[in-house]
Amino acid sequence: MATTTSPRPAAPPDAREAALGRGRPIGGFELWTWVFMRISGLLLLVLAVGHTLIMHLPAGGVDRINFGFVAVRWQSPFWRTWDWMLLMLALLHGINGLRTITLDYVRPPGWRFAITMAFYVIGFTLMVLGTVIVVTFDPTRWGPIG
């Protein structure tokens, strides 16, 4: 009997499974980044899409943006908070996206490490720079606002 029955070939992946790609990670750091990408994505849907539409669509578009515009806008803690959250979430989301792409396309371990580290350093530097500016910006150093 055993000689006539060959082992059953593995079932081909079902089309749905293929469409879903690699799917949700099982646990650990990768699961957390998977969850983070989706939650931060939902927040960025409001923060980033809102930001780009607010800056580009009203009359004048980006023509109206100058030092005075930022000075008036950042008098409001609401917009400072909005911009700081956008800064942090967009950088974390974007840097993690670049990490995922690097792990997909870069195979040699040394290059992988170097490229992801470069992204981490850029991301961290911009988070620090942006945070310092958003928190400490005081336009009155250059005269009255308006």
């Binding site: 293929a18 580009h56 023509d63 967009a90 974007g94 792409i101 310092v132 500016i133």
Partner: protein, 134 residues
């Protein structure tokens, strides 16, 4: 032999002309990379406010150019696409049963994308045109 020829006719299409999901996956990557690369520059140009009006207005003068305005329209399109496609991914991931209705969901998202795109492109192209004539 018969099995082989049947196998070559894949359900998934060829690698280079696959499922719609493959195109949205590639576009998601391209738009994501485009947005993060712009963000690197944008954090730096915005940080110039910390050096005063002269520095900020000199750096942001780089945007006073019709070609740059067209690139900005590309940026807004990339942000919109990435946001809407990301919402679709999140929806399917959190509610996997919706996979069976992926086609109408994708059509609905494409419709929202195009309907948002039309007025946005209209306004931004108008701004670029005004700037070009000044």
């Amino acid at each position: 032999m018969a099995i082989r020829s049947r196998k070559s006719k894949s359900d998934y299409g060829s690698i280079y002309r696959g499922h719609e999901g493959q195109w949205s996956w590639i576009l998601h990557r391209i738009t994501g990379v485009a947005v993060i690369l712009f963000l690197f520059a944008h954090v730096v140009d915005t940080a110039a406010v910390g050096w005063g009006p002269e520095a900020y207005d000199r750096i942001t003068a780089a945007y006073d150019n019709p070609i740059v305005r067209l690139l900005e329209l590309g940026l807004v399109v990339a942000v919109l696409y990435h946001a809407l496609n990301g919402l679709k991914i999140t929806l399917i991931d959190f509610f996997p049963r919706l996979v069976s209705r992926i086609r109408p969901i994708s059509i609905a998202f494409t419709a929202v994308f195009i309907l948002t795109l039309i007025p946005t492109a209209w306004i931004m192209l108008g701004q670029a045109w005004d700037l070009a004539r000044r």
